[in-house]
C-alpha cells in the first residue's frame, strides 16, 4: 500500500511537473560498511518523503506540487458572504509567504459569483470575493503591487445547475500565478 502510494505520488509529480526543470538527483543513502556483511541487493525504491522535506516550499515547483498548500487555488465563500473562512487561513498563509519570498512573482485573483440576478452586479460581487482574498494575502506578507484582484462575475461558472450545491461552487475565488494568466 505504502509503495503503491509512493508510486502514485511520483506519477503525479511527473505528470504535474512536465514543464519544470528536472530536480537535482537524489543521492542514495551512504552505506557504512567497515564490517563486511551481506551485500545489499535490494533495488532502490523511491523513498516516501515527508511533506516539506524534499522540495523547497518556496520554489516554483511547489506551486504545482499536490503535496504543497500552494497547489490549492480555490477559496469558497458562504452565501451572500465576502469573508474568507478560517479554514482557508493556512492555505492563504502559504501563498502570502510565497509571494513575500518571491517578490517578482505576480498573482491574479479571479472572483466569481453564481448566476442569479444582474450580470454586472454579479461582477461586482465576484470582485468583493477577489478583494477579500487579496486583503488576506497582503496581511500575510504579500505586497499590494504583486496582486491584481479581478472579477469574472457569473461568466465562468464552474457549475451551471440551479441548485444550492452548484451555486456554492460558483461563490469562489481562484488564484493564478505569473505564467498561468
Amino acid at each position: 500500500m505504502r509503495a503503491l502510494l509512493s508510486i502514485s505520488v511520483l506519477a503525479l509529480l511527473l505528470t504535474g511537473c512536465g514543464s519544470q526543470p528536472p530536480a537535482p538527483e537524489q543521492q542514495p543513502a551512504i552505506v557504512e560498511g567497515r564490517v563486511p556483511s551481506a551485500i545489499q541487493t535490494q533495488p532502490v525504491t523511491p523513498v516516501e518523503i515527508k511533506s516539506g522535506e524534499a522540495f523547497d516550499p518556496m520554489s516554483m515547483a511547489a506551486l504545482k506540487d499536490p503535496r504543497s498548500q500552494l497547489s490549492k487555488r480555490n477559496v469558497l465563500f458562504d452565501y451572500d458572504s465576502y469573508i474568507v473562512k478560517d479554514e482557508y487561513q493556512a492555505l492563504l498563509a502559504a501563498h502570502g509567504k510565497f509571494l513575500a519570498a518571491n517578490s517578482r512573482m505576480k498573482m491574479l485573483i479571479q472572483g466569481n459569483a453564481d448566476d442569479r440576478g444582474s450580470r454586472e452586479h454579479n461582477l461586482a460581487l465576484g470582485q468583493k470575493r477577489a478583494d477579500a482574498v487579496k486583503k488576506s494575502l497582503t496581511l500575510l506578507g504579500a505586497s499590494d503591487d504583486q496582486i491584481e484582484s479581478v472579477s469574472l462575475g457569473e461568466e465562468k461558472s464552474a457549475c451551471s445547475e440551479a441548485t444550492e450545491a452548484c451555486w456554492a461552487q460558483n461563490r469562489r475565488s481562484d488564484i493564478l500565478y505569473t505564467g498561468e494568466f
Partner: protein
C-alpha cells in the same frame, strides 16, 4: 430566393468584420452567424388600428418583397390589425381608391405603392412611391418616395413601415433600427448586430471568452462592451463599420458596465482600481478618467438620463442593491446620491426611457427576477412580465417597447414587451443562448 443577394453580401461583410476584429476566425462561425433570430409574437395591443397594405403595383417581385416586409413590421409592432388585401385592387398613384370596398373589410387606413425603374434607366434601381390614405375621411394622410436598389429591399421596406408608423401613431417608427446581442454557443461568444426584426444578423466580434454589456453610441456607429479575452473584464469601444476597436478602460482590477453620455463624448464605467466597484467617467477614447461615485460598497450599472443631467446606477450602500441617481454637470457629479427604488430587497439594472419620464429595471420578488417599469414622477411601478429570470432591459429608441433577456426551458432568449405590458414578442436562435440585448438608436 429573391434575397440571395443579401446572403452573399453579408457573408463578405461578416468576414471583414472578423478579420478587423482580430480575435477568432474559422469556418465554424459561418454556421453560427447564419442562425437567425426568429421573432414570435405572443401578445398584441388592445385597440389595434386596422390597416390594409394593398398589393404594390409595378415591378412585381420587388413590389411583393416590399409589401410582405412592411406587413410583417406593422404586425409585429402589435399596434396594427393587418387587413388582408386579397380581392382588392392595388393602389397605384394614379388610381382612385375604392374606399367602399376597403372600408367594408374593416380597414381605416390603406397603404399603397408603385414600384418603377428609376428615370435614369440604371439597371437594378427602383423608385417606390408610397401613399397613405384615410379610408374613413377618404383623404390622403401622406406620400413618400424612395430610391433604392434590388439589394436594399428589406431596408427600404423598414423605412416605409417607419413612415406609416409615424404618420399613424405620431411617434417615430423603429423598424429601421438595429439591435446588438451576445450569442453563446459551445465555448464561443459572438457579439451580433441584426435588424430590429432579427434578420441580417452579422457577427461584429467573436471570441472564446465572454462578452457582456454592449452599449450603442448615440450615433449608432460604435458599440462599447466588456470583453474577458484578457482573463479579466476590460472595456472596449468598437467601430462597427471598420471593425476597429480600442481599449476604453483597462485599469488594474475590473473594468465594466460602459454607458455612453448622450453627446457620445464620454463613457460612464465601473472600475475597481481604487478599491470596491465604483463609477468613473472617461472620455470615449479612454483618456481623462475621473471618479463619479464614492461609497464603501458596490456602485455599478450606470446609465445617463437622456438629457445628460443624471446618472442612474445600482448601489449596495443601503444594505441591499437598490437604484440611485446622482446629478451630473459637465462630466462631474454635482449632488449627493438620491435613492430611487424602495420596494423589495433587490432592484437593479436601471434604464431610463428615451423621454426620461420612466425607468425600466429588474426587481426580485419571491425569488423571481422580473422586468419592471417605474413612472419617475409618481414612483408607481408595474411588473411587465410573468417570467422569472429577466435581465438587461433596453428601450426601443421611441420608448414603445423594451427588449430584455430571459430564459425559457433553461435557454437564453430575448423578449420584448411594450411599456404598457400588452404587446409581447420572443426572439430566439435555435440551439444557442442569446443574451445581453441592446437596442440601437434611431436611424437618421
Amino acid at each position: 430566393m429573391r434575397f440571395n443577394g443579401f446572403a452573399t453580401r453579408n457573408m463578405t461583410r461578416m468576414a471583414a468584420a472578423w478579420l478587423a476584429g482580430g480575435l477568432l476566425f474559422g469556418a465554424g462561425f459561418a454556421g453560427i452567424a447564419s442562425a437567425q433570430l426568429t421573432v414570435e409574437i405572443t401578445g398584441a395591443g388592445a385597440n389595434r388600428l386596422p390597416v390594409m397594405v394593398a398589393d404594390f403595383s409595378g415591378e412585381r417581385i420587388v413590389a411583393q418583397a416590399l409589401a410582405s416586409v412592411i406587413r410583417a413590421d406593422l404586425d409585429r409592432s402589435g399596434l396594427f390589425l393587418l387587413i388582408d388585401p386579397a380581392g382588392t385592387l392595388p393602389l397605384p398613384e394614379s388610381a382612385a381608391p375604392d374606399y367602399g370596398n376597403i372600408k367594408s373589410r374593416g380597414a381605416d387606413t390603406i397603404v399603397g405603392a408603385t414600384v418603377a425603374p428609376t428615370a435614369d434607366g440604371r439597371e437594378g434601381r427602383y423608385e417606390t412611391r408610397v401613399r397613405l390614405l384615410d379610408a374613413v375621411k377618404q383623404s390622403s394622410i401622406g406620400t413618400q418616395a424612395y430610391v433604392h436598389t434590388g439589394t436594399q429591399l428589406r431596408a427600404t421596406a423598414h423605412r416605409i413601415a417607419d413612415f406609416v408608423y409615424e404618420k399613424l401613431t405620431g411617434e417615430p417608427g423603429v423598424f429601421s433600427t438595429r439591435i446588438a446581442y451576445v450569442v453563446k454557443s459551445t465555448g464561443r461568444y459572438e457579439l451580433q448586430i441584426a435588424d430590429a426584426d432579427g434578420s441580417n444578423s452579422q457577427a461584429a466580434l467573436a471570441s472564446r471568452e465572454p462578452i457582456i454589456s454592449p452599449a450603442w453610441s448615440p450615433d449608432g456607429g460604435k458599440i462599447a462592451y466588456v470583453s474577458f479575452e484578457a482573463k479579466k473584464p476590460v472595456v472596449y469601444v468598437h467601430d462597427l463599420a471598420s471593425g476597429r476597436r480600442h481599449v476604453a478602460a483597462n485599469f488594474k482590477g475590473s473594468n465594466s458596465a460602459p454607458a455612453w453620455s448622450p453627446d457620445g463624448k464620454r463613457l460612464a464605467v465601473v472600475l475597481t482600481k481604487d478599491g470596491s466597484s465604483q463609477l468613473y467617467i472617461v472620455n470615449a477614447d479612454g483618456s481623462g478618467v475621473s471618479r463619479a461615485s464614492n461609497s464603501p460598497g458596490i456602485d455599478t450599472e450606470p446609465r445617463w438620463s437622456p438629457d445628460g443631467s443624471f446618472i442612474y446606477f445600482t448601489s449596495d450602500r443601503g444594505g441591499s442593491p437598490q437604484i440611485y441617481r446622482v446629478a451630473i454637470d459637465g462630466g462631474t457629479t454635482a449632488s449627493a446620491a438620491e435613492r430611487i427604488s424602495f420596494e423589495g430587497s433587490y432592484n437593479v439594472t436601471p434604464r431610463p426611457s428615451p423621454d426620461g419620464k420612466s425607468l425600466a429595471f429588474i426587481t426580485r420578488t419571491n425569488g423571481r427576477f422580473q422586468l419592471a417599469l417605474m413612472d419617475l414622477a409618481s414612483k408607481q411601478t408595474q411588473i411587465l412580465t410573468d417570467s422569472s429570470k429577466d435581465e438587461s432591459p433596453s428601450f426601443a429608441p421611441n420608448g414603445r417597447m423594451i427588449l430584455y433577456a430571459t430564459e425559457i426551458n433553461g435557454r437564453g432568449v430575448l423578449a420584448a414587451v411594450s411599456s404598457d405590458g400588452r404587446v409581447k414578442q420572443k426572439l430566439s436562435i435555435q440551439a444557442a443562448d442569446v443574451r445581453e440585448p441592446a437596442w440601437g438608436p434611431l436611424v437618421k
